[in-house]
Structures are given as structure tokens and as C-alpha cells.
């Protein structure tokens, strides 16, 4: 009850006209930044920081939280429209979102994306409101061994992403893991596979790779024929913008699974929204009775990752607000902003500045509603992008993708990487090698290696550390199950088909 009272107080702060205005500006700016390929929410918040100088700290943080939040929604826009995810967490959205757009159902994809984001986000904020402190303490049980087990689980759920041929999925995974090995070895300080290139010391960033494999490769594929796809022939009238209510609400299972997975992973510092959306997608596919429809424009394939990445971004606020620990790059920037305004985040933030903490949480409810409304209102406008003549749209996508790639680390080497992976991605497409496992392996690989080696440093080299700690053990078992269960299900399905016929 006390929580509710504090939340209501927070709401009364968040709902003052100036704060609503700033939240609106924040979410709009965030959505734009999120929609631009490459520029993630961390850069977005950092760049917008100066706008807030001189504001009341609460108002400033409401604006910045709006940017953070808006970027999560915005990321799906370019993922669906041009197959170039605006934000790393939107990679999975493009897998089914872009095919939907190509089939002339971009409006449906947007509605589902924003609806799922809203539900995932709201679920995340409610959990944040009522359970933040205890959840934050729970998340502390995750040391390096637990993270390693989690990464292994992430890699084994890959079976859900492998596409038609498991062998090609494996090739893609191992290629991603190889790329993940590039860079400085944290334990010995040796630069691995860097061949003297300074920029490679920190490894191959996965975003330029994504920009190439998805955005650039899609344009190359689009060049095969100058004829327009179905997207152009289908009507863009208002009636075709939105899916049928029944179809929309039949996604509830995907929402629940996505939101829970997203929030649970988001709460863990360092795991983040990207991994959450991957896992949600893979889980959704593993649970689905029609896994073959994924990747070809299946609505649950949009719903689950979108619900997950928004739930995760709310989840990432848990360690920040409850313990003063940044769980992601963006929350690290937010933490810096807090301090610039004279606030001291830490375990005492809720006690010392309840007005501030609760206003920030309350503003997230407001921002979430604003975003859902806004995206739906603007859907007809977004869809118009697809009406742009192909001879303008295709070069434009290249420009925006490459410029966005540059902005990730302000470095031209990333642009080269994007171009190279554009060609690789196109060849993968032609050879029907799935690109998603590569990306996931590249995201998880460095984390997996780091956590494994740190664990073994903690345990003096004994591998038993992964199996003697309860959470790590459970996760390892789950990882094994994630590998085996889909195979069993498939075997059963094929047997029952045989029996039936």
C-alpha cells in the first residue's frame, strides 16, 4: 500500500504539464534516435544531455528516461521498414517484421510491435514498481559462473533460430563465435586475431555486422530485380493498416512469455535487452506449433522480442534505481546524468530522494502510454516510406545504414565491416545460411568467454564451479533442455505424422 501511495505521489509529479511535455519530447526524440540505424539509446541519451542543463533534475531525468524508452520503440521502425535494426535490441524484430512489410503488412507489424512493446514495457514497470529492491538483491546472486551458464543457455536456444538446415545453423554459429574471439584477451592482454589493427583490440562490434548482414544485404537482394514487391501493389489504406482484433489478441501467449523472459534478463546487470529479445524469439519458436512459419512474417515473431526488449529496458532500471549499479551502457549514461544533477544513486536513493525515484518510475508509465499512441498514429506515415520509388529508397538505405554505422563508435572501420558483411550476408541469403545465429554468437561469445575465464579465476581453475552453485546448475540443466527438447518435440511430431497417415 505504501508503494501505491508513493507511486501516486510520483504520478502527480510526472503529470504536471511541464513534465508531461518533457516526457513527450523525450519519447519522440528517443523514437527518432532509435529509428536511425546504429545510434543506440546510450549515445542518444549522452548526446541529448546538454538539452537538459539548467532543468529541474526531476524534469531532466523524466526527459532522459523518455529518450531511453522511446529508443526501444523506435528501433523496430527501421527494422520493419528497411531491415536495418535501429537499435541492437530490434534485430529479432526484423526477422519477421521485414517479411511482413514485404508482404504489404507493414501496418500489422507496427501495430503488433507497438502493442507488444506497450504490454512488455508496462509489465516491466509494474514489476519495477513493486519488486525493485528484492529483485535487485536476487540478481546479485548472479556471479560469473551464473552468467556463463546463462550464455550457454543463450547459445543452445540457438537451435530455435537455425532455420531449415541445422548444419547451416551450426556453420553460422561457429562463424559468429570465431568473430567473437577477435580482440584483446582479458586475462593475458594478448591481442587475438587483430593483425595489428588498433580498432580491432576491442573486438568486432556486433552492430556493424548486423548493419551489413541485414541492412546492406537486403538492399543487394533488392537489386536483383527492379520490379516492386507486393508491398507496392497492396493498398495502404487505413483499413489495411491494422490487424484484426482477434488476430492481435491471439498473441497473448507471446506477450506473456516475452515479457517475463525480457524482464528477468533485463534485471541482470550486463545481460540486456538484446539478449532478452533473442531468447524470447527463440523460446517463442520452440514453443510454437508452427515453427516453420517463423522468419517468413509470423506475428508472434514480432510480438515476443518486442515485448521482451521493452520489459528488459524497464528491468535494467531495477539495479540502477535500487542499487545504483548501471546494468547497461544506457543506464550508465543515466547514472552519470543523475550525478550531474547532484543526485547520488545507490542503495539509499529510494530512501533519500523518494520524490525523484518515484517520479522517474511514474514517468515511465506515462511515456509508455504516449509511445503506444504515437506509434499507432504515425503508422500510416511510416508505411508511406515503402511507397518511395525503389531507385531512391535503395541508395537511401545504404546511406542511412552506413552513416548510422559510423556513428556507433565514430570510426570508419565499422563502415568497412558493414560493407564486408553486406556482401557476406547476401551470399548467406543465397546459400540459405541463416544470419541470426551468427549475430547471437557474436553477442554472446565474448560474454561467454569472459565469464568462463573469470569463473575459473575465482575457482582456481576448477570447472566444478559451474555445477556446484545452485543457480548455475539449474541454468546449465535448462541449457541442456533447450538443446534437447526441440529435438524430442520434432521427433514426436514426425512420428505422429507417420502414425496418423
Amino acid at each position: 500500500m505504501e508503494t501505491l501511495q508513493l507511486l501516486l505521489q510520483g504520478l502527480s509529479t510526472a503529470l504536471t504539464p511541464i513534465n508531461v511535455l518533457m516526457a513527450t519530447i523525450g519519447v519522440i526524440l528517443g523514437a527518432i534516435i532509435g529509428a536511425l540505424p546504429g545510434i543506440g539509446s546510450a549515445t542518444g541519451v549522452a548526446v541529448l544531455l546538454p538539452i537538459t542543463y539548467g532543468m529541474n533534475p526531476i524534469t531532466a531525468v523524466i526527459l532522459l528516461a523518455g529518450v531511453y524508452y522511446g529508443a526501444m520503440y523506435g528501433g523496430s521502425i527501421s527494422a520493419i521498414l528497411i531491415n536495418a535494426p535501429g537499435d541492437p535490441a530490434a534485430v529479432m524484430t526484423s526477422l519477421d517484421g521485414h517479411p511482413l512489410a514485404q508482404q504489404g503488412r507493414a501496418g500489422h507489424a507496427f501495430t503488433v510491435a507497438s502493442g507488444s512493446s506497450f504490454i512488455g514495457g508496462t509489465f516491466g514497470i509494474i514489476m519495477l514498481t513493486f519488486l525493485a529492491p528484492s529483485l535487485a538483491r536476487w540478481a546479485l546472486n548472479f556471479g560469473p559462473p551464473e552468467y556463463f551458464a546463462l550464455m550457454v543457455m543463450g547459445l543452445t536456444t540457438l537451435t530455435g533460430l537455425a532455420g531449415d538446415s541445422p548444419i547451416k545453423g551450426l556453420i553460422s554459429t561457429f562463424f559468429g563465435l570465431m568473430l567473437a574471439m577477435v580482440g584483446l584477451d582479458i586475462v593475458s592482454g594478448v591481442g587475438r586475431y587483430t593483425y595489428g589493427v588498433l580498432e580491432l583490440l576491442d573486438g568486432i562490434d556486433f552492430l556493424p555486422v548486423v548493419m551489413g548482414l541485414f541492412g546492406v544485404a537486403e538492399v543487394l537482394a533488392g537489386m536483383e530485380s527492379m520490379a516492386y514487391g507486393e508491398m507496392i501493389t497492396s493498398k495502404v489504406g487505413l483499413r489495411n493498416m491494422f490487424p484484426k482484433a482477434r488476430e492481435f489478441f491471439s498473441l497473448w501467449k507471446a506477450w506473456i512469455r516475452g515479457a517475463i523472459i525480457g524482464f528477468a534478463i533485463g534485471v541482470l546487470p550486463g545481460a540486456g535487452a538484446t539478449m532478452a529479445s533473442f531468447m524470447a524469439y527463440a523460446t517463442e519458436k520452440n514453443f510454437s506449433r508452427t515453427p516453420q512459419r517463423f522468419g517468413k512474417g509470423h506475428l508472434p515473431g514480432v510480438a515476443a522480442p518486442e515485448a521482451a526488449n521493452n520489459a528488459a529496458s524497464a528491468g535494467a532500471m531495477v539495479p540502477l534505481l535500487a542499487l545504483g549499479i548501471p546494468g547497461s551502457a544506457t543506464t550508465a549514461v543515466l547514472l552519470g546524468a543523475f550525478m550531474m544533477y547532484g543526485l547520488r544513486p545507490g542503495p539509499l536513493l529510494f530512501a533519500q530522494r523518494p520524490d525523484f525515484a518515484w517520479a522517474a518510475i511514474a514517468s515511465m508509465y506515462v511515456g509508455n502510454i504516449l509511445l503506444a499512441i504515437m506509434i499507432i498514429v504515425f503508422i500510416p506515415l511510416f508505411v508511406r516510406v515503402l511507397l518511395t520509388p525503389k531507385n531512391i529508397l535503395m541508395p537511401l538505405i545504404i546511406v542511412i545504414t552506413l552513416v548510422g554505422t559510423f556513428s556507433i563508435r565514430n570510426n570508419l572501420i565499422d563502415v568497412w565491416i558493414a560493407l564486408i558483411f553486406g556482401v557476406i550476408g547476401y551470399l548467406f541469403k543465397k546459400l540459405k545460411i541463416p544470419a541470426a545465429p551468427l549475430v547471437l554468437a557474436l553477442v554472446l561469445g565474448p560474454l561467454a568467454e569472459k565469464t568462463m575465464r573469470l569463473s575459473l579465476m575465482l575457482s582456481q581453475g576448477s570447472f566444478s564451479i559451474f555445477f556446484t552453485r545452485p543457480i548455475a546448475l539449474v541454468l546449465m540443466i535448462a541449457a541442456f533442455a533447450a538443446l534437447v527438447i526441440p529435438i524430442i518435440i520434432q521427433l514426436r511430431a514426425s512420428r505422429s505424422v507417420k502414425n496418423g497417415s
Binding site: 526524440l29 527518432i32 546510450a42 549515445t43 541519451v45 549522452a46 546538454p50 538539452i51 542543463y53 539548467g54 540478481a139 546472486n141 548472479f142 556471479g143 560469473p144 584483446l184 582479458i186 592482454g189 588498433l198 580498432e199 583490440l201 576491442d202 546487470p269 550486463g270 539495479p319 542499487l323 545504483g324 549499479i325 548501471p326 551502457a329 544506457t330 550508465a332 549514461v333 547514472l335 552519470g336 550525478m339 550531474m340 544533477y341 547532484g342 547520488r344 544513486p345 545507490g346 542503495p347 539509499l348 536513493l349 506515415l381 508511406r384 516510406v385 511507397l387 518511395t388 531512391i392 529508397l393 563508435r409 565514430n410 570510426n411 569472459k450 573469470l454 579465476m457 575465482l458 582456481q460
Partner: protein
């Protein structure tokens, strides 16, 4: 500055929308944005040019680490103070170029000798990076502009830890050589150097765990995954205040004003002092005028009330302004000591 950026945003939005509409064949609305276009020149006029010869265009401040890190905070706070007090007629643009323990950003600036519009945040770690084989430009390839602050190091344990003092920690480390874990940020990083110095002074062998960031060390100490952690005060101050972490020792000449109960290593009989500096440098042969002006500006920044209160005090730093040449002399003075420590922890790859 604030307003002009918002204006630019509005204009660019209008531009994008108009492009989309034009492109999709919605010709009638294309007229609208043109009416607003004259605003584009406004921000430029708004800022009256002063008579000073430098700067005549925006200055680019490279922060060679990711957004959210300590150097990013330094850079952005400097810009905040400069903008709030109109200390410079032209804006400063913060650019993050992370990679290779700061060496990617350092290299970028070093490759532009004589450039008056590129400056770089510079910390101890960037000085030692080339000594550990990362990047080729030494601190001598830069023009020191000013040192602004010194950051401290604290050894912390969790409140539930059995260790009440540095002595007990060292005793435990002696019992089981190589097993007592100390969380830090990276191999060869400043905190690793402090641990190495302590190991040498006390004749013990710690198990140094290189997490990626202060935030991760914080999480892992909070979750009791490690026996102790070594921190910059600002990374842990929230948890110290709440009583979750117990500070055991500070590696400084005198005790910290804000933590008067925490002894220095020196008092306890171990001659280990280490402070990391945070400053600003430019490329080699940076024009004299630019260096002088920037020095003056940074001096004013370091005396600003907001800076002192919300940057220095809140981050528990020591305000330590040193102008150009003295900053250079300071680096020359600490260099041999740094090399010795790097050799001791086995990461030195110098010439």
C-alpha cells in the same frame, strides 16, 4: 546552444517529413517546410563572435572511452560548465571514440599534429596504454593543456565480510597465496597497478579478477562473489554510505576528507600511494594561442562552484589544476614509477 540544437532538430524533422512526403508523391504539402527554412541560419547568427582569434569554429573533444564512463563524465561536465558560463564563443563537441583502453581515441588526436581544434581527455590509463603494447603514441606526442583532478583508490569489502582491517586482509592473503580475490577493471589498468604495488609492499599474492567496469566490480562485491574490490570512490560511494561496503584503506598521502575514518596505507606501514590524474591534452604542436586560451578556460572551469560541488566533491576527487608545462613535468615525474609497477605486474611491453 540549447535552443539552437532544438531548432536544428525541428528543422531537420520538417525536412525528413517533407522528403518522405515528396518521395511518396504527396506533392501538395511540400511547400510547407520551405517557409520555415530561414530559421536555419538563425542559430549561427545568435552567437556573437568575440574578437579572440581562437576559437573560430567548434572544438572537438575526443573522449576515448564509451559514454557513461569516468572520462565521458569528465568531458561532458567540462562542456556543461563552459556552456553555462559562456566561457568560449564556440561550442565544444564531445565525441566518444572508445577502443583499446583509450588508445583508439588517443591515436586519432595524435595523428593530427598542429590541429588547434582537437582536444582529448587524458588519464593515467592512456599514459600507460602504449607501455602495455596498446597504441604507439606516448604521452610525449601530445601537448599537455591542463590537469584537472586526481582520483583516489579504495580497497573495499562487503559489510558481511570477516575482514575488518587491511592487516586481516593481508593475513588472509598470506595464508592462501593467490586465492584472496580482488575485483578490478582490467589487466594493467590503474587499479591493477595499485593492487600490484600493495602486493609488492606487503609481500603477498592476490587473485586479481579483471571485470570490465567499475559497475561490474560493484555488482560482484555486492553479491559477495569476490572477497574485496578496488574502486574509485565515486563508483562505490553510494554503497559505502548505505553501509553495504566497508572501506579498509585509501592509497593516498592523507585521509579523505569525506571518509575520515579510513586509514591510509602509509599510516598502516605500507608505502603505497597512487592517484590517477584526469586532464586534457591536445595534439603535438598545437598552436600556442589555442593552448593558452584553453588553459585559461579550464582554470575557470576548475574554479567554478558547480564544478567544485557537483563534479569534484560528489565524485570525491581532489581538485588539482595544473597548467600545461607543469602538467607535462608532472607526467615526466610519475613515468618511471608507472613503468616499475607495470613491470612488477608483468604487463610492461615497452621499448
Amino acid at each position: 546552444m540549447k535552443r539552437s540544437r532544438l531548432l536544428v532538430l525541428v528543422i531537420s524533422l520538417v525536412l525528413v517529413l517533407s522528403m518522405l512526403l515528396v518521395a511518396s508523391g504527396c506533392g501538395t504539402q511540400a511547400e510547407e517546410p520551405k517557409e520555415e527554412e530561414p530559421q536555419a541560419s538563425e542559430p549561427a547568427k545568435e552567437e556573437e563572435k568575440e574578437t579572440a582569434a581562437w576559437p573560430q569554429k567548434p572544438i572537438e573533444m575526443t573522449v576515448p572511452y564509451s559514454p557513461g564512463g569516468g572520462s565521458d563524465r569528465l568531458g561532458r561536465f567540462i562542456v556543461k560548465v563552459i556552456e553555462q558560463n559562456n566561457l568560449l564563443p564556440e561550442p565544444i563537441q564531445v565525441v566518444n571514440k572508445p577502443g583499446g583502453s583509450g588508445s583508439v581515441g588517443s591515436t586519432y588526436v595524435a595523428q593530427n599534429p598542429g590541429d588547434a581544434y582537437k582536444i582529448l581527455t587524458f588519464i593515467t590509463g592512456q599514459m600507460t596504454a602504449p607501455m602495455t603494447g596498446m597504441g604507439t603514441y606516448s604521452w610525449r606526442d601530445f601537448t599537455p593543456i591542463a590537469r584537472l583532478a586526481l582520483d583516489e583508490f579504495l580497497l573495499l569489502v562487503h559489510k558481511d565480510s570477516p575482514y575488518q582491517s587491511l592487516e586481516e586482509v593481508l593475513e588472509a592473503a598470506k595464508q592462501k597465496p593467490g586465492e584472496f580475490t580482488v575485483g578490478g577493471t582490467a589487466l594493467g589498468a590503474e587499479d591493477n597497478m595499485v593492487v600490484g604495488m600493495l602486493e609488492n609492499a606487503a609481500g603477498v599474492d592476490f587473485n586479481y579478477i579483471p571485470f570490465d567496469s567499475g559497475g561490474e566490480v560493484n555488482t560482484n562485491l555486492m553479491g559477495k562473489q569476490i572477497d574485496s574490490g578496488i574502486f574509485n570512490p565515486n563508483e562505490a560511494i553510494g554503497a559505502i554510505e548505505s553501509g553495504d561496503f566497508r572501506p579498509l584503506v585509501v592509497f593516498r598521502e592523507e585521509r579523505l576528507k569525506d571518509l575520515p575514518d579510513v586509514p591510509t596505507a602509509k599510516e598502516l606501514g605500507y608505502d603505497v600511494t597512487f592517484q590517477m590524474f584526469r586532464g586534457v591534452v591536445g595534439p603535438k604542436d598545437m598552436p600556442e594561442e589555442a593552448v593558452k586560451t584553453m588553459q585559461e578556460v579550464l582554470k575557470k572551469v576548475s574554479e567554478d562552484a558547480d564544478w567544485q560541488e557537483n563534479y569534484i566533491k560528489r565524485n570525491m576527487l581532489t581538485s588539482a589544476y595544473l597548467p600545461g608545462e607543469e602538467f607535462g613535468a608532472y607526467m615526466a615525474k610519475i613515468e618511471p614509477g608507472l613503468i616499475d609497477v607495470l613491470k612488477a605486474i608483468g604487463v610492461y611491453k615497452g621499448k
